[in-house]
């Protein structure tokens, strides 16, 4: 399939091309339907419209229109020939047999070279920007993009991870506790790291009228972290969550593979090392990096409610 796709006269089979084309067209057109991911994308686009993170992975209609069975095949040939290809296999099999099977069936054009997947660290906006766009929606979507100044390797790998865990990953995180449990402002709120882009994202679904209040509470939590207002217990729980999710991954073949892929691609440490290193993060480390994290863009996809009667 990989080396002998359904191709005739240097073009992909028209019929199967059309089916896929139709699917992708629908996907591009309905991008806005998922208001959560749409709002996050709009936030990225406002943060830096030229950065790779603001490129929509599903693509753009203008480019999509230009794709033909011919130029797609030309691209595919180039893609297969000039990209790094890694093959991972997991399960119950004979190593030698698998190796010779792969050697026999995959003709490699390219020898392994290491690429650097991390983006250049961007300039951080001096003052945060606030963007509000309006749609006819029942719920408003909040997306906050934070950036951080260059961090040392250990801090990037571990301190930042721990910071994110305490701030907004689990149901006992700072953001969940304050925004949802104490103030009933949201059903979901979370923070997420996108280390390749040097971004920390915070997202939630709220009432339009609660926008200022929610942002205020989020900032308050980030300030509290800066001042060291978190306990040893908070750190301990975050570490346990981190280690136990690494251990749980071992029951799932697919996740084991994924883990190797990220180790290879991103140069992250092995599970064993990660479990040890995360414990070395100190409260001082955490406070030190909080000062380097800054809000860049606050985006609200504001819902205007005009409810249709069903």
């Amino acid at each position: 399939m990989v080396f002998h796709p359904n191709v005739e006269k240097l073009r992909f089979d028209q019929e199967s091309f059309d089916v896929v084309r139709n699917n992708i067209e629908t996907e591009i057109k309905s991008f806005k339907e998922n208001t959560e991911s749409y709002s996050i994308m709009r936030m990225f686009e406002n943060m830096d419209s030229k950065a790779p993170f603001s490129y929509r992975m599903i693509g753009y209609y203008e480019d999509f229109e230009k794709i033909t069975p011919e130029n797609l095949y030309t691209y595919y040939k180039d893609f297969i020939r000039n990209n790094i290809i890694d093959i991972y296999v997991i399960g119950d099999f004979d190593n030698n047999q698998m190796e010779s099977l792969i050697e026999k069936n995959f003709k490699f054009y390219n020898l392994h070279t290491q690429i650097n997947p991390y983006l250049e660290v961007p300039k951080i906006r001096r003052r945060e920007q606030k963007i509000i766009e309006t749609e006819e929606l029942s719920q408003s979507k909040l997306a906050i993009g934070c950036r951080y100044e260059p961090l040392e390797e250990f801090d990037l790998k571990y301190t930042l991870t721990l910071y994110n865990l305490i701030l907004g990953v689990s149901t006992n995180s700072k953001l969940f506790t304050v925004v949802r449990e104490k103030n009933s402002l949201a059903y979901y709120i979370y923070s997420r790291l996108s280390k390749l882009d040097h971004i920390l994202l915070i997202a939630s679904g709220i009432e339009a009228g609660d926008f200022e209040k929610t942002v205020h509470l989020i900032k308050e939590q980030m300030e509290a972290m800066k001042k060291g207002n978190f306990s040893e217990g908070d750190m301990q729980k975050a570490i346990t969550l981190f280690t136990s999710s690494l251990e749980q991954l071992e029951d799932n073949q697919y996740e084991i593979l994924e883990n190797y892929v990220s180790m290879q691609l991103l140069g992250i440490d092995t599970i064993e090392i990660r479990k040890e290193k995360i414990k070395e993060v100190t409260k001082e480390d955490l406070i030190k990096i909080t000062k380097k994290i800054k809000i860049d863009t606050i985006y609200l996809l504001k819902g205007e409610t005009k409810h249709e009667k069903n």
């Binding site: 059309d18 029942s138 689990s170 149901t171 006992n172 103030n183 059903y187 346990t240 749980q248 069903n310």
Partner: protein, 426 residues
Amino acid sequence: MKKIDLKNLDVAIYYKKLKNGLDVFFIPYENKNNYFLSFLTKYGSSVDDFVPAGKKEFLHIPQGVAHFLEHKMFENEDGSNPFDFFSQSGTGANANTWFTRTQYICYGNNGIEENLEYLLEYVSSPYFTDENVKKEQGIIEQEIRMYDDQPDFKIDDLLRLGIFQKEPTRNDIAGTVEEINKITKEILYECYYTFYRPSNMALFVSGKMDMEKLEAIVDAYDHKYKIKKAKIKTKDYEEPDQVYQKQQRIKMNVVVPKVGYAIKINNTKFSCTPEFLDYYLNLFLTIKFGFTSEFREEAKKEKLMTSLYTEVFTIADHTTLSFYADSEHPDRLVEKIKKELIKDDITEKDIKRIQKVWISSEVQMTDNIEVTLNNCIQDYLRYGQIITDRIDKIKMLNKKDLEEIRSKIDFNNDSLAIIEPKEGTK
């Protein structure tokens, strides 16, 4: 405990009924590190009228109570919260409400005994106050609004409104903002003490475990919660066999229309068991509309749809064959589905082909502790027992019985729901 072997599969289930009536199922795995716990009550959103424990009169409750109750069980009198407890051992915790059950789950690889003990304890200790009820209304309102904006979710809601006339199943599990604002702590307590009795509940544990230790924990729970069994009286909604509305169309922020289409069937009119009825209906949908079906290939080539999802859904005496699709030509797609449903072209060869894939997926599923646990729960809720010989039964499926079942279905008893783009939506 009683050992139940799953035939043709390397899985055994251990069962016991406690004195207080709780059904307990352990599904141990030697080769796994993780575990999965589910503590459930056979109570969900499909009950809006019942006789509360110790009373004689029926009580009508607002929509969304079961789901509201699920949220509120995370409140403890001493101010602590279950998420905090579970996080000490890196354990994930959650809960969810379905039409016919509410379940409290936790999963991880540490501290199974402490977590089981805690799970049983916190779900057995309701603590509702005016204040904490009010607090939850804000959170659930945002949950409802979140789903309001999701067309894939809305199409399902809309379709159920067309299929069902009286059953509360027609309503959204979470209720509406208006309805949940009517919920009070008194209503929650009435529901809790009626439906959260051990005799209306079950515990499922799968994964790595020391069964003896777990058994001691459930025995202690049995001793502590000696709650009398009671027959629960819920209203028979006398749901008509006819669909409620043939067609509904609404407009939303979609670019490509969403289609929901369903056939409503009275499932008590078949000579086979409910289990075989489910197998045959699933077999039928897979052959006709599955990933390897001609229908799917044709419809995609004709650009009638980009995605299609089918489902056999059963609630009480009614079963639906449901279709969900994204389609630029909803009416033409539905015409095509209708034709396909009555086209008489299934062969023994088709059945053999699907059986093979089905059996291998049954085997594969047992490698996942969560999937296996969920399958057992489904069996328990739908058939009142764990099915131990599913593979043998799949092998028995044949054309003659399939045709007989199909001949009894009125394919004109259908309901169509379409979400169309608003003017100017791009």
